[in-house]
């Protein structure tokens, strides 16, 4: 592969709890859309929870991350703590004023609210990265 395939700054790792409530699924939907929009890349929280070394080491070494929990139970945070992954950007959706329930008809306004908060949590450097600077080809090297 050539040098031009490389991403200059790397991607923001996005970890969502993806739990069994509206806020869990809002976290997941926001992570999916932020990935599609080129802000960062959704990553597998289950792999970290399973203590698979590639996933755990990736989370430890990534420069920029946002971890999204739906509610104060904090499963994402707990998984990262168990795997000894430093918590970088962190967000709890109920703290944004979104009520936890079992209505899975996710609203556009709430999704956008979560995406904006996730960008803010990930930090200004990540938020200002242009999608065009991200890798279009799926290449993941960090040159």
């Amino acid at each position: 592969m050539a040098e031009e395939c490389c991403t200059p700054n790397g991607d923001v790792m996005i970890l969502a709890c993806s739990g069994g409530s509206n806020v869990g699924q809002l976290a997941n939907q926001a992570a999916v859309e932020l990935t599609q929009e080129g802000f960062g890349k959704i990553f597998c929280l289950a792999g970290i929870g399973g203590h698979l070394s590639g996933f755990v080491q990736s989370a430890r070494d990534v420069p920029q991350m946002v971890a999204i929990d739906g509610c104060p139970v904090g499963c994402t945070k707990a998984i990262l703590e168990h795997a000894e992954v430093p918590l970088k950007g962190y967000l709890v959706l109920t703290e944004l004023g979104i009520e936890k329930n079992n209505d899975f008809k996710l609203g556009r306004e709430e999704i956008e609210k979560v995406k904006a908060a996730a960008k803010e949590s990930a930090g200004e450097g990540a938020a200002s990265a242009k999608p065009s600077e991200k890798t279009p080809s799926g290449c993941s090297c960090t040159c």
Binding site: M1, G54, F55, Q57, S58, V62, S140, C141
Partner: protein, 77 residues
């Protein structure tokens, strides 16, 4: 000892492979080094970025070029 360097072949990946080979040589440890460039094969390790170094199946670093001293510590464990 089986060591795999994961990466498509960019300068950072090449430097990582060089550092690994030099660390092995300087340590006198018996090890096989394999460069993995196939993206599907790399994906099996679940790494978010490359380069990455895998020693006997365990991923040791992701998205950075490890220093020789770091590698020597890993292979002496």
């Amino acid at each position: 000892m089986e060591i795999k360097v994961l990466g498509p072949g960019c300068p950072k990946c090449q430097q990582t492979e060089k550092n690994v080979k030099e660390a092995i040589s300087e340590s006198g440890v018996a090890a096989n080094v394999e460069k993995v460039t196939d993206t599907m094969e790399i994906a099996k390790y679940g790494v978010f970025m490359t380069p990455s170094v895998v020693i006997d199946g365990e991923v040791k670093c992701v998205g950075k070029v490890p220093k020789k001293d770091e590698i020597k510590a890993w292979i002496s464990d």
